[in-house]
């Protein structure tokens, strides 16, 4: 999302910005390199003068009037999508009003506008945002309440913040939540009919093909199934399955909604994906390959045969290097690798029956 495409002037501005930073610790060799760069053109001189002015300006502002960090963070949830210059640069962030009825009342446009303006502080609170990452891309989202959502590659979340509650919908992939403490506003992660609720904690939710995995790094969460109709659930006294999960524990929720017994996990392994490391303990090859595809579109890895897809493997890999996985698999005598165009097929080696001499 962060290409700084544009004119030559903008590119030079970027170079100048890099130099402002680099010159603070520059070696004599780098100083000389900068000296040459500066002499290359008038535009370089100009951008360097402006860049260092900005540095002074920002530095001085600190003594004068601190920019409120929380307000900046709040901007990532409320203001940003409204700023016209930002709209084009963040296509993945969707802004929507959840009160279409306002528009349907049929009043004149002027009156509608007046109502909307009057209700603006209220409307801002029911705005929601969607964030998505593509293959290989990870990002952190700072929410207005101080919580931070780290989003893994090829994942998406929808975030709804209101004065009463904080709701996150994990629509795809995996995310790690560092929840800011706020007893009055429960923080809930909804994923495919299950809810993970936290108050001031750090936990990971991973949406896989056949199940959902929840792991707690700090604090405690409560995991439960969401009944499709909450009113019916309470009147019919339907038993809601509910499990407490403590620090250093993980559980999985199956496709059918069965919640497993909490099991101890290695906390550092759970969050390793943020360092783009993949840690597998007794994981089916099918899932392992799926994880790699989250980071790498090519080569496309295909596992042939159910037996092999379900065979369990252990290992720690660099997420950006599927070759390490392939080398590991190749070292297993029972597995054959075969390249078919852009695809790489992983299959069991046929057992050769040696005939007696």
């Amino acid at each position: 999302m962060d290409e700084f495409k544009g004119t030559a002037e903008e590119l030079i501005a970027r170079e100048a910005a890099r130099w402002v930073q680099q010159l603070k610790t520059a070696t004599p060799k780098e100083q000389a390199e900068f000296a040459r760069w500066l002499r290359e053109s008038r535009a370089h001189v100009r951008e360097m003068l402006l860049a260092s002015s900005w540095e002074t300006v920002l530095h001085h502002l600190g003594h004068e009037r601190k920019v409120d960090i929380d307000r900046l963070r709040a901007a990532s949830d409320n203001v940003v999508a409204v700023t016209p210059s930002r709209r084009s640069s963040v296509p993945k962030r969707v802004l929507a009003l959840r009160w279409p009825r306002f528009a349907a009342v049929g009043l004149s446009l002027a009156i509608t506008a007046a109502v909307l303006l009057g209700a603006l502080p209220f409307l801002r609170e029911v705005l929601w945002h969607e964030y998505a990452t593509s293959v290989g891309e990870q990002r952190a989202i700072a929410l207005a309440d101080g919580s931070i959502v780290s989003l893994n590659a090829r994942s998406s979340v929808r975030i709804e913040l209101s004065p009463e509650r904080r709701d996150v919908y994990l629509n795809d992939g995996q995310a790690l939540f560092s929840v800011a403490h706020d007893k009055a506003r429960p923080f809930r992660v909804h994923v495919d009919g299950s809810v993970v609720q936290a108050v001031g904690t750090k936990f990971d939710v991973h949406r896989l093909a056949g199940r959902i995995e929840v792991a707690v790094l700090e604090g405690r969460v409560r995991v439960e199934r969401e009944h499709p109709d909450a009113v019916a659930a309470s009147s019919l006294q339907v038993l809601v399955e509910r499990t407490q999960l403590s620090e250093g524990e993980a559980l999985s929720i199956s496709n059918t909604g069965t919640i497993s017994v909490p099991m101890p996990v290695n906390v550092s392994e759970i969050s390793a994906w943020r360092q783009r490391r993949l840690v597998f303990r007794d994981r089916p090859l099918g899932e392992i390959v799926e994880e790699f595809q989250r980071y790498n579109a090519k080569p496309r890895l295909i596992v042939e045969g159910d037996e092999l897809r379900e065979r369990l493997f252990n290992g720690v890999f660099d997420a950006d290097e599927p070759e390490t996985l392939l080398a590991y698999l190749a070292s297993d005598g029972s597995i054959a690798l075969e390249r078919r165009g852009d695809d790489l097929v992983i299959r069991a080696r046929p057992i050769v029956v040696q005939s007696a001499p």
Partner: protein, 171 residues
């Protein structure tokens, strides 16, 4: 230009830097003036003694730019057009907080301009820029605070600096 030892050159440059930036501050919205300044500085940089310049290029940049400014002011004074700028530059070069406007209204206005500029950056980048420049946090601390990698902090800081430069400065 008289050659200076690197350390002296740096001291001189720091002294000039304030007055230079107070000048630039007032002209961020008038690209024409900055273009003229850059043009003159560029030409003078090409004439500087090579070895000294290569050692402390940034110090020379500030010093040369300041020289250009004071030359311009002298010319204006000789011609009888004593502008507010020349008086201000004299005053600022004596004051410690030189680059910052003295008038509270100007200060407030400047602070608001900066906040508006920051608001036009992607929030994460603006946050990183503020944490670094104002709060004085290290890359490492920022990375920890925002739960992102040090590499990302570094990358976004550069982007933020470049972007804020491109922001329109309202008058």
């Amino acid at each position: 230009m008289k050659s200076l030892l690197p350390k002296q050159a740096w001291q001189v440059a720091t002294q000039y830097k304030r007055q230079l930036h107070s000048y630039l501050l007032r002209r961020l919205g008038k690209p024409q003036n900055v273009d003229d300044l850059a043009q003159e500085v560029y030409l003078r940089l090409l004439r500087i003694d090579d070895a000294d310049y290569m050692r402390t290029p940034l110090a020379y940049l500030y010093r040369v730019a300041s020289n250009v400014l004071s030359d311009w002011n002298e010319t204006e004074q000789r011609e009888g057009h004593v502008t507010a700028d020349s008086e201000e530059i004299d005053r600022w070069s004596e004051s410690a907080e030189a680059a910052w406007p003295e008038n509270p209204t100007d200060r407030l206005e400047l602070a608001e301009q900066i906040e508006r500029a920051l608001a036009q950056l992607p929030p994460l980048q603006a946050t990183i820029l503020v944490l670094f420049e104002q709060e004085g946090l290290t890359y490492q601390e920022i990375a920890q605070e925002l739960q992102i990698s040090v590499h990302t902090v570094e990358k976004y800081l550069t982007l933020a600096r470049a972007r804020i430069r491109a922001v329109k400065w309202e008058r």
